[in-house]
Symmetry: none
Subunit: 190 residues, 4 copies
DNA sequence: CATGAATGAGCGTTCATTCAT
DNA sequence: TATGAATGAACGCTCATTCAT
């Protein structure tokens, strides 16, 4: 339809993320959010049925965006390690650029709102290149253990790296990226 | 007169952790907490000045407990790798046994209550065996890079492992522990 | 949208004065006040930020009204005594007609709320015709002593007179007014 | 009987007056009062049945003290004006020395507790030398009008004088006392 | 679509009073 | 008598949501 101002909806989403980043999920107050957006509290309800709807919808939107990012340019004829590195760096940049979104997701997961998320969305785990991992195991270049463990390690170092960068303890440049990826590679390689 | 039941304070702390684990920090409702403990809401205020005091005090208590655990049996004449492993496993068990406490700490950190934590408590970072890392670098058995990065990797894998165990995706036995520690070791070793 | 009913604020003020007159300042209970006004307790907070704001604002409003009343028609070419009498009677009528407001002011002054009154408002003492007193002293018709003392006596008799009238021990008519003013005049005249 | 520690009761009364003087009657919090006295809250209830009992009893006690003071040394063979002056000064000193008690009385009178005061106590109006006034009217030295009006004027100037002294705007010495009494005398004399 | 006013449900907290020793 | 713990009954206030325009 698009009768409603789509830009306004985006503004609401953005300010919501800002608030959650600043004060946590409990900091979302409809009146404050409205003020931040520059609209009336009641106008919020034109775009979202209620607070829960706002949070659940935003959660779903973000998850879907993340799915999109992880799905592209999987196939190249580069060596395995390089392909994994490219992918990892892609996630790293995504994480750094979307830290507010990531924080929102994490906070919702430990809030009572999480039970309201449709299971369909919950199930959509970031596949995180499972195919790639399988290929690596077949080729014998990474440890032959459960994918979950590989995923755990890769994403653990990923999110810690993002945190270091955001807290300015680490600057995002090629040297540091290489350094951090070497942890990943050394951890999982055979 | 009635004697102050010290166990009651502990009961309050415990139920608080339960609530935060179940519903997040925003789920702490003084009335509900009181009911869970089996006392009157106003009795809570005999033990804590107010909600903020409850959260801040509990936070402080937990941090101090964590400090204690990380400080013992540092010196052995075992090989470096084994000593690091022992320490890592110790943290792993602590994390698994105190997952509610850990979750509480994490949630407070992203809540508005965090600014109320005395800076003294904030500064008490778990040193996490910095000395051990220095020694490893001197001996040339682990990468010669900033300690923060080593710490980041080690604790990243640690917390992911805890999560896997708690979510029953991984059971806590020697084989799995070894597997996960091998990630750690391979990641940081030279 | 609904338009803000300015009369509602006035109604809140009025009922507040009623309550303070009946039960004292400690008798102001937001829920009761709301019921008296015929609105929901939370609606009170649309008009006043909180209880303190209500009391302080009302105090300020009343003081400003009093300032207005004392400032008019100072200059006439009547004899001094007559001019003073006119002024005194004016205050008397004001006091009788605004006894609830006066009572409110007095009660706030001996309550912990008084420290919250902006000093600007506190400073605005009813000048109470200081100029007139000066003139009287110059002309030699009233005692040549500090204005504060004259003011003290004049207002002391004034407020006692108001009390007598309100308690029906004295009815407000010309004869009684004359009688009471004669006390004033005899007290201060040379 | 005197089984209970009479000194402790006096301490309670005194601290109550202090509190009312500092914060008003609404400032009486049983727990705070107990702390001020240096006893446990529950001990208060050994001496007074409840808060109302405390306030009503203290009110009654003070009123009775005031009665006592006004009743002595009425008859002298001094000139009328001098006798009135002596009495007025006596009251003035009483007022200055017992300002906390006076303030307490005034505050109770405009509080909901006043309806709980036994009417017997309420009726005990400080006679304030009615006999003396009658004598003055008979001798033709003071105005021949209702005693209530004389009393009103005399006590009005009295309480204003006390206020001036307490607020340090006027110091309590013979000169100032004379000045203020001259207002009284000039006001009521024929 | 947009809004500011209005509100009910509920929350954190206080406090006079009682309990249990 | 004396007390610290315990509590129920409020009270002030917040906030998601709806009303009325």
């Amino acid at each position: 339809m698009k009768l409603k101002d789509e830009g306004k909806k985006r503004a609401i989403d953005e300010k919501t993320l800002d608030i959650v980043f600043d004060k946590g999920i409990a900091g979302i107050k409809m009146a404050v959010l409205a003020k931040d957006v520059g609209i009336s509290p009641s106008t919020l309800y034109v775009y979202y049925k209620n607070k829960e709807d706002l949070i659940v919808s935003l959660f779903t939107t973000i998850i879907k965006e993340q799915m999109t990012i992880s799905k592209n340019e999987n196939q190249l004829d580069l060596p395995f390690k390089l392909r994994l590195k490219k992918m990892w760096l892609q996630w790293l940049h995504f994480g750094v650029n979307n830290y507010k979104e990531m924080g929102f997701i994490e906070q919702v997961k430990q809030s009572p709102y999480y039970v309201k998320i449709p299971s369909k969305v919950k199930e959509e785990k970031t596949e995180l290149g499972v195919e790639l991992l399988e290929e690596g195991k077949l080729k014998g270049v990474i440890k032959n253990i459960e994918n979950e463990l590989h995923v755990a390690v890769i994403s653990a170092i990923l999110s810690q790296t993002v945190k270091l960068i955001l807290s300015k303890e680490l600057s995002l440049n090629e040297k540091n990226s290489d350094k951090m990826f070497s942890f990943v590679w050394d951890a999982i390689k055979t």
